[in-house]
Symmetry: C2
Subunit: 685 residues, 2 copies
């Protein structure tokens, strides 16, 4: 039934990759700017690449270890196939990240240069570089998954293909976890390190070539927000696709829908990718100004979402026929929930609305007030996402259960997660454009381009903040839905369809332990940021002391930014190992020691605590960051030194929240679900 | 079987109340100090009483509303009896709070005066005033519960007595919630308000009679840490006793143990209270110095715990005979878990250990670093409590299930919570001595007593910080265990012994919503603190402006502290209504709209999230507060203005965490469990 669908999906994926190549060519053909701009850009690129090469070495070692672990632990279940797919999923993610960063690091000076001529051209360069990342992520992710599906499902039959597809997904998630965590640590090491340099009254030249801390900070934008975010969305994307596939491969869903239940997720994602390719064509603006560019970057997202909704309706009709059309509500609720989460994030974090404004006002009273207010709004901002996800679960479950009585409900929850992430391509694209724009703003200021160019790049950078909030909302919302679907799949596989609450304390013990993990994980990543930040501080101080003329800002003297970034990268990558190992080891330990019932509770506890904590940390941190921008852009209060210092503290506290701990949380949840699912045979005795 | 036990327990309770009266007489007979000291003390007492009277009016109105609600909603289940017991539980709590505050507010100047002669006398006055609170809380709590038990169990039979006992417990919890929340808001309004006055460069005289913000702050010690804490421990105490009683009243436990299963909890608590009365006799010291006084206040706690362990062993042997002695492990694990949680809190919050010291060191770099480090340690501090509670659940369940196969495990979890709180009397006593001591320190400084008196009171106040950490640890740990036991009781009553995870999405939806509540609750209480703090700021500014000579500190001019406190009390009490209503309404709404399965998930989610959040907020906040004390007591860094400012911000952020949001969380969990249990008939159709 509809066996040609995977081939079409593979075709769409391949086309997305070609499209990405075209966008890349467009970026590289743009004017790279003056010699100084090129030098600054090169120095940032070198710093970012110093990180990427160190990260890839460590990640490869870890992947090799996991490859062996899967082969050995699952040797009697044909683990080598899952292990191979694990490597495939991981390599494609590494590849996408590399491609994205390579192009994006070449786009910053070009975006600044294009800004001299006006907004349209500048937007085009920045977005094109983001599109390379977005389309490569979605294209490679979907292509690899389709390949796995075709080879193994067709060649080996259904029951094997699930653990194989989960292997692929776990590979993607492993890379995502490390890229997000290490990238987040590196980014914030630059940020907090630069803050420390300033707090210790060291010289802090604006000149990017003379300030290693600032270059590390700028390179961090790429490492965290391009490579890290790309790997993050890549893994969420895959996890959301495999959740309904895994569920529909066996049990009641398979009985009712046969292979159609497995093909539908692929088809919806393929169509979603096509919608993204189409939506990307509309990223353009005729009007000038901040609002116009913000619209130009957000409306294609909403447009792609609308197109994806319509096409999923048609696909369900075509593949599963009219009597199964009830499944459409699940997909629709997922897309709707993603939008609501994103809009909530925007409300709580944009300086157009009252939360950020009252934080800025509070900073006028005292830093403590600004910090407390940030927490209050961050805590409150959790309510709407939880309510809409609860609604999405309820509606998806009930409607899907009507279509497939007696167990189809969870398939609906899976489709819901899938719907939310089917437009990953465009989300990643507009998101990756953000750091390019904020880099361009720095280069424009550094090279003293005219005011117009600075204004254009600032508008672009500000729009990028909003798109970042949108993409984080999608990622965490989808992770929550996917994790619930995976939990259900786990319960199905382990035969745990009934959890005995009374006669089984194990569930609640697991819940407690599971809820603990996101908190400890946050602590470890925050701790790593501080450790790496002190490396930036010490190395920057050393360079100002040892490099003759640097502290005085003598003409022609340049700092050794590469060395600073490399040292920071070394610490960051090393520090990611403990939280990374925690994510892999915790479910294994719980499963082996306390059994499969506790592991079910563990996954439930982790998903609930992680969802809430991630949302809170992201929104609190972003609200502080935007309150600072609001104050510095000339709102009342700017004149006062104490207000600026107050909001600076809040912003410095919040940056590691929003850029390090929070964005890794959705991956943490997915990794733990996938490890549990993959290693199920170990917990069954 | 052992029907004389309740009578003996009632006798012990009555004896505790007589003992409390003796302690009160001891306090009142002590030298009240100079005229100025008496005036300051009176002004703080007036401020505290202004709050108490406002609070009691609002609480009474709310209690009347709840009385009617219970009568009407449960009219066909004989709700009037549960409603009457509800009032009894609530009134006894109000009575205990009133008695405790009345004596404690008279003890501050007396403690300072006694300090002139030396440590032993000063400790004796402070502890005696605490003992009034501790013994009244435990005595009245247990006496009331025993009365309910005797009247209704004997007169009406078992099945009615459960809802009646739960009514009693819910009454205690309602008062506890409001006292903790409103008290916490009031306390921190004084604290943050005083901070704001300073941040706005207003005059900030040390003279307590001339500074309404400082008097409000000092009155807040009583309102939050004596009355609030007393009502808090009162409700935890009752909840921990009724959990095993409710479980053992029906089902498999009753079949096996008959009424012995219900009498045992009463007996263990009665014996625990006797141990506390005994332990209180050993609060004395011969040596001078901080370490000696800390020991004098903590060792009786450990001693009472040891005595309670032994006596519970003997009681299980006597009441349930040797073949049921396995239940002893549950009690023992509970006591052990309480101690481990308390020691963890001490490690993460005492300036003798590395966490607080590194926060203090971080403050030397920047306020943001100190804040981030506080979070890191706060997040990490959650691990040990979760692990020990998980261990306590596991051991209690397994061992109790061996004694009573097929369902006895949850009775064991209930006994575990009970064990932890059986020594509430002594815990409340040493805890309530803390605020008296810190008040005494302020009065000693204000009246320029000699250095020795100041040192003695400072040592006492510092020991009080540690005992506060211990009592918070006990309260939240016991709430988690009691909530699990109550959840189990709920599942038993609703026939939800099997939760269908796959075929029932409702559980996970409930979990998400339940986990949300502690976060929203924190946001609402923090918001209330800010609102009330601005009242303190504005009123203090107004008084400095309007009262002639106040701002200049003219001789004989005094501020109108009563008015300031009264205005703050008005806002605080009003602001408690929303979070209070949330706690009562949320489980009702979930139960009515989504059904009993969702409500089970809701309770599970709330307990896990609340436990973790409460622990984290308490330890983070206390660590910052003690880091500030550490810096101000002359650690390296004190000389620098910027370090002091940095830690001041962290401390101001942390105080509402540890004194407002966190301590109310355990009550929140208990209230929601009890509301669910009491109103079960509404969700059953």
């Amino acid at each position: 039934m509809a066996s040609w669908v995977p081939w079409v999906v593979a075709g769409v994926s391949a086309f997305a990759l070609i499209d990405a190549a075209l966008y890349a060519r467009k970026v590289l053909k743009a004017d790279p700017g003056s010699e100084r701009m090129q030098r600054v850009s090169a120095s940032i690129r070198e710093a970012a690449m110093a990180f990427i090469s160190r990260e890839y070495i460590y990640v490869s070692l870890f992947l090799a270890f996991m490859f062996l672990l899967i082969c050995v632990a699952l040797r009697s279940q044909g683990g080598w196939m899952a292990a191979l797919c694990y490597l495939l999923g991981a390599s494609f993610s590494l590849l996408a990240g590399y491609a994205g960063v390579t192009v994006a690091t070449r786009a910053n000076a070009r975006t600044a240069q294009a800004a001299i001529k006006g907004q349209a051209g500048s937007l085009s360069v920045a977005f094109s570089s983001g599109a390379v990342m977005g389309l490569t992520v979605a294209g490679l992710g979907l292509l690899g998954l389709t390949i796995c599906y075709l080879i193994f499902e067709v060649a080996l039959g259904l029951s094997n293909s699930i653990s194989i597809i989960i292997g692929y997904s776990l590979g993607a998630s492993t890379v995502g976890l490390f890229a997000r965590v290490a990238g987040g640590i590196f980014t914030e090491a630059g940020d907090v390190g630069a803050h420390l340099v300033q707090a210790q009254n060291e010289p802090m030249p604006d000149d990017l070539l003379q300030n290693p801390a600032l270059v590390t900070l700028r390179a961090g934008d790429y490492v965290g927000e391009v490579a890290g975010m790309g790997a993050d969305l890549y893994e969420s994307y895959i996890a959301a696709i495999i959740a309904p596939i895994a569920i529909s491969a066996t049990g009641i869903v398979f009985k009712k829908l046969s292979t159609g239940g497995m093909i539908l997720p692929l088809a919806i994602t393929g169509a979603g990718l096509a919608c993204c390719i189409l939506g990307a064509l509309f990223v353009r603006t005729k009007k000038e100004g901040g609002r116009a560019v913000q619209r130009a970057m957000t409306w294609p997202v909403y447009g792609s979402a609308a197109l994806a909704t319509v096409s999923s309706f048609l696909l369900i009709w075509a593949i599963l026929k009219w009597n199964n059309i009830g499944l459409f509500y699940s997909v629709m609720m997922g897309i709707l929930a993603g939008l609501v989460i994103a809009l909530t994030a925007e409300y709580f974090t944009s300086s157009h609305y009252s939360p950020v404004r009252s934080i800025a006002l509070g900073a006028g009273s005292s830093g403590a007030i600004a910090i407390l207010q940030g927490f209050i709004f961050g805590l409150l901002s959790v309510a709407m996402p939880i309510l809409i996800v609860a609604a999405a679960i309820t509606v998806s479950f009930i409607t899907a259960n009507r279509v497939i009585p007696g167990g189809g409900g969870i398939y609906g929850i899976g489709l819901s997660a899938l719907g939310m992430l089917s437009i990953t391509g465009i989300i990643a694209a507009v998101d990756a454009a953000g750091p390019v724009a904020s880099n361009a703003l720095d280069i424009a200021s550094d090279s003293r381009l005219d005011q117009r160019a600075i204004d254009v790049t600032r508008d672009l950078a500000s729009a990028g903040n909003t798109t970042a909030a949108i993409s984080k909302g999608f990622a965490i919302g989808a992770a929550a839905l996917a994790a619930i679907a995976l939990l259900a799949a786990y319960s199905q596989v382990t035969g745990l369809s009934r959890i005995f609450l009374i006669s089984n304390y194990k569930f609640i013990v697991g819940m407690l332990l599971g809820a603990l993990v996101p908190f400890v994980f946050s602590a470890l990543t925050l701790k790593a940021v501080l450790r790496a930040a002190f490396v930036v501080l010490e190395e920057t101080k050393r360079q100002f002391r040892d490099i003759l003329g640097l502290a005085e800002g003598a003409e022609g003297v340049v700092a050794d930014s590469r060395r600073c970034s490399d040292m920071t990268a070394k610490v960051s990558v090393y520090q990611m190992l403990l939280p990374g190992a925690l994510a892999i080891a915790a479910p294994l330990v719980v499963g082996l020691l306390l059994g499969k019932e506790s592991l079910a509770g563990f996954l439930a506890g982790a998903l609930v605590a992680g969802f809430i904590l991630a949302t809170m940390m992201a929104n609190t941190g972003t609200a502080w960051a935007n309150a600072r921008k609001f104050i510095e852009s000339g709102s009342p209060g700017e004149e006062e030194e104490s207000t600026r210092e107050a909001i600076l503290i809040a912003d410095t506290v919040g940056n590691p929240f929003r850029n390090t701990s929070s964005p890794a949380m959705n991956i943490l949840i997915n990794v733990m679900s996938m490890v549990s699912l993959l290693f199920v045979p170990l917990f069954m005795h």
